[in-house]
Symmetry: C2
DNA sequence: CCTACCGATCGGTAGG
DNA sequence: CCTACCGATCGGTAGG
């Protein structure tokens, strides 16, 4: 496949101002992203250990050794899946909270957080976060720290809502432990939720809210 | 190691009535159990795929090929871990419910179930159930069915309590979905609970109860 | 149960 | 990025 090299060597006429290097870089980062996407899907479907790097290469349209041109090791690829996933999830979370009316009640803030979390866990093509949740063990200690930092930021955003709900008595467990239990309940849905089944994410969200903080 | 063979060939004087075969069988089943225990511990610590059968053999004091004298494959050993674990968990569950005063309130029945589940998940030397929860993927379809049947029986025992709590309004989500969320919350504790930390299983149980069905 | 071993798979690399 | 390949590991078996 010499296509991308040819493009880089002969810049297309309409893109006069662009330096060559940038084209190359864009192409490289596209291929890299394709590898991460393919890896996420396979890691989720078969598990990290059970996924040969050769399969990831094939899914990205490459030969067996090529992933190691982009990533120094298989676990570096796993780390990329997790970090990309967390960055995306955090961005969506911020957007979901921004979209709320100013001074929305805590119950509605929690609803938005839960709903958005389901989206990221169970939505079409969302393999990144499930991989992060279930493949921790395959990271090195340093890699784990890196992901943990992002995860902590994501989960910390839930505490203001939980604290507020505790103050009003709607949340009856201590907020810190409640957060751990709640994430467990939500994260476990990837084990049983069937996107082809009758349950909608809205229904799931409402039921989770009822379970944790009761009806409105 | 000829010790066990020697014992079988020359029955000990005090055990006059016992036939040889039974001694041999008992010895075999002890060794088998030792393999299952070692496998459970390693599968939990490192994951199924990342655990070589050689390590399991060594942990049980055997040579590399010997586990295959007792189990036809590595995944048969995994199945044994899960089935033994579920059988034990179910037995403890029955005992916990029996120990309750007759006509105990539903909240107390749920408390007993949660407390017992924590014991099985987080207690010392309880590796079987965590392995069952996190290594599904490594079973064949038929093996999965076998474990699923036991798991269904275990989880079904929670429904009478959940239904009762729903009727009284203490549980505000639909019982069927609530059960899924609740097991998620509880099962996830294996990811974060530190037995050496300050939290006790009693405190955890109380907090879970408050979260799901509120204070007494 | 052990010894000795096979065949396959796999992560990763050199060299272009 | 590809080609060709290495070294190591691993599940499982034969034969006793």
């Amino acid at each position: 496949m010499l296509k991308s090299a040819a493009l880089a060597e002969t810049p297309p006429p309409m893109r006069r101002g662009r330096p060559r290097k940038s084209e190359q870089e864009r192409d490289e980062s596209l291929r890299r992203a394709e590898l991460v996407r393919a890896a996420a899907q396979l890691f989720r479907a078969k598990g990290f250990d059970a996924t040969p790097t050769r399969d990831i290469a094939a899914a990205a349209g490459m030969q067996s050794g090529s992933p190691f041109y982009y990533f120094e090791s298989k676990s570096a690829l796993l780390l990329a899946v997790m970090c990309d996933g967390m960055a995306q999830a955090k961005a969506r979370q911020d957007a979901a909270l921004q979209a709320l009316p100013a001074r929305a009640p805590a119950r509605e803030r929690l609803r938005a957080l839960i709903r958005q979390h389901f989206e990221v866990l169970l939505g079409a093509g969302s393999d990144f976060i499930p991989v992060m949740l279930y493949e921790w063990r395959s990271l090195t200690a340093e890699q784990r720290q890196q992901v943990a930092a992002q995860k902590d930021g994501y989960e910390a955003a839930w505490m203001p809502s939980l604290n507020a709900l505790h103050r009003t008595g709607q949340l009856q467990a201590r907020p810190a432990v409640a957060r751990l239990f709640i994430f467990g309940a939500l994260n476990w849905t990837v084990q049983w939720f069937d996107p082809a089944g009758p349950r909608t994410l809205d229904d799931l969200t409402e039921q989770a809210l009822c379970l944790f903080v009761g009806k409105a």
